[in-house]
């Protein structure tokens, strides 16, 4: 054993500040006589000081989404349920998208309510006068596409994992109440018809959003949310999106489908060729990739992914 090795304990103890009083001064005197020991002590202190920056680093903890992803994968791999905290549905994210400059639906809702009253009132009058049972628009929530309708299209992806299905069942259950409430209020069932968009247009939207930084769809209702809203409007047209009757269950479904994206927001509903009305979620993955999912507007089941 060399002299230097012999002093290893002493140097580490001094570096950690574990010596006091005479013990400390004696150790310091001993170290002072050894040039390499002095250099080593300085290095130990430098390293410890630097490492202190990493202790209790909040970035070194699992985020809620990562924890969910961990539990989900353990469920899949082990075949039993690792219970986790309730899905961290991003209320703020959904709300933020809704509060964005182009996605403030309050005025639209008022207009829609007036429109609804006129249409329903008109229908009632027509029914009374002509005996017709023709409904207004005929595009009710019950007519909306389901995941079963969507089978067979290339760009559509359906989750096959048992646990995912179970999770989606729960989400569907949660969605039912919300949807029922939405239907009661007429928020979705009798909306004005919109022009259908192609999946290709949504691909362009995905590519444009991908050039934006993740914070651009962050949860706070900042101007960055407006940036997302403006991008969506510029790409898809000013009237492409309507209000989503349900948001949180769709964000939950997206999280399950994509194994926990970093951020998710609901853009609204959009009428897609061959799919009909779908709820659109924009999801930024941990690696920065953007994935846009189209959801059944009733159950929130993912019916397609934008290529």
């Amino acid at each position: 054993m060399t002299v230097h090795d012999h002093d290893l304990d002493l140097i580490m103890a001094i570096a950690l500040g574990g010596l006091r009083g005479e013990e400390s001064s004696g150790a310091a005197a001993e170290i002072a006589g050894c040039e390499r020991c002095t250099a080593d002590l300085a290095a130990q202190r430098t390293a410890l000081g630097a490492l202190a920056a990493l202790i209790d680093d909040p970035g070194a903890r699992l985020t809620e989404l990562e924890a969910r992803r961990l539990h989900q994968v353990l469920n899949d791999r082990l075949g039993h349920t690792v219970t986790a905290a309730p899905p961290p549905v991003k209320r703020a994210a959904a709300a933020a998208a809704g509060r964005g400059r182009r996605f403030n639906w309050a005025p639209l809702a008022t207009v829609a309510a007036i429109f609804l009253a006129v249409v329903v009132g008109g229908n009632a009058i027509r029914s009374l006068t002509a005996g017709s049972d023709d409904s207004a628009g005929g595009d009710t929530a019950a007519d909306a596409p389901t995941s079963a309708d969507a089978d067979g299209t290339d760009e559509r992806r359906v989750s096959a994992s048992t646990s995912t299905v179970a999770a989606e069942r729960q989400i569907v259950a949660e969605a039912t109440a919300t949807t029922a409430a939405a239907a009661e209020g007429g928020a979705f069932a009798d909306r004005p018809s919109r022009e259908e968009v192609s999946v290709g247009a949504l691909t362009e939207l995905r590519e444009r959003i991908e050039t934006m930084a993740i914070p651009s769809i962050a949860t706070d209702a900042t101007s960055e949310d407006s940036e997302l809203a403006v991008t969506a409007e510029e790409t898809m047209g000013p009237d492409a999106f309507g209000p989503a009757p349900i948001e949180e269950p769709c964000i939950g479904a997206a999280s399950v489908f994509l194994a926990a994206p970093a951020e998710s927001v609901v853009l609204g509903t959009i009428d897609v060729a061959d799919l009909g009305t779908t709820v659109v979620t924009v999801n930024v993955m941990v690696d920065g990739a953007v994935r846009i999912l189209l959801h059944d507007p009733v159950s929130c089941t993912v019916v397609a992914e934008v290529p």
């Binding site: 290893l8 130990q44 390293a47 490492l51 920056a53 209790d56 349920t81 219970t83």
Partner: protein, 189 residues
């Protein structure tokens, strides 16, 4: 009941067939396991994969745990071994690199600005250490394990851990010295 006694009771319940006990073990240790994996592997996705593998191993081999050492020590040994496996796989597939780990924005964090600013440099320097030195430094200096516990977790003598920590810190200081001018070396607050 202490944490250690709780862990042992949970393992016993799980081995006896109570799956909810496994859930509790996961939730109790997931953050620390992830933190070790993150410091060892540096990439969040890789760390999450390693965390999953660690708990899968725990799920399958919990019956092999003997209560001679604390459960957490045994779990850290599994964690470090899983990380070594991941590092070996990464070395075999050098082109399959994941994006580097970066701090997630956390407005609630109250660390001193200098500490936050230092992190990327320290992470880079830590990543330059060999796997065995990094494991020793991570367990002792970041996770706060005693040399004896770290020795058990790493399955090496205490003297070996001590030497690895000592040399690891020295190399870390050298790395930091290469990354910034001498007059800006970080010092303990």
């Amino acid at each position: 009941m202490t944490d250690a006694a709780t862990d042992i009771a949970l393992v016993e319940r799980y081995v006896a067939g109570d799956l909810t006990a496994f859930d509790e073990l996961v939730r109790a240790h997931q953050d620390r396991v992830f933190a070790i994996c993150l410091r060892m592997l540096r990439h969040r996705d890789a760390a999450l994969d390693a965390t999953q593998d660690t708990f899968v191993t725990l799920f399958r081999k919990a019956d092999r745990y003997k209560a001679e050492a604390a459960f957490s020590t045994w779990l850290y040994r599994v964690t470090v071994n899983v990380c070594y496996d991941h590092l070996r796989r990464q070395q075999r597939r050098p082109t399959d690199q994941l994006p580097e780990y970066h701090d997630l924005p956390d407005p609630k964090a109250e660390e001193a600005l200098t500490s936050v600013e230092l992190r990327p440099e320290v992470e880079r320097a830590l990543a330059q250490l060999s796997d065995v030195f990094r494991a020793a430094v991570v367990l002792v200096d970041l996770q706060g394990l005693s040399l004896e516990t770290a020795a058990t977790a790493l399955d090496v003598p205490v003297g070996t851990v001590k030497s690895r920590v000592f040399r690891g810190r020295r190399l870390l200081a050298e790395q930091l010295g290469n990354l910034r001018p001498p007059d800006q070396h970080p010092t303990r607050a």
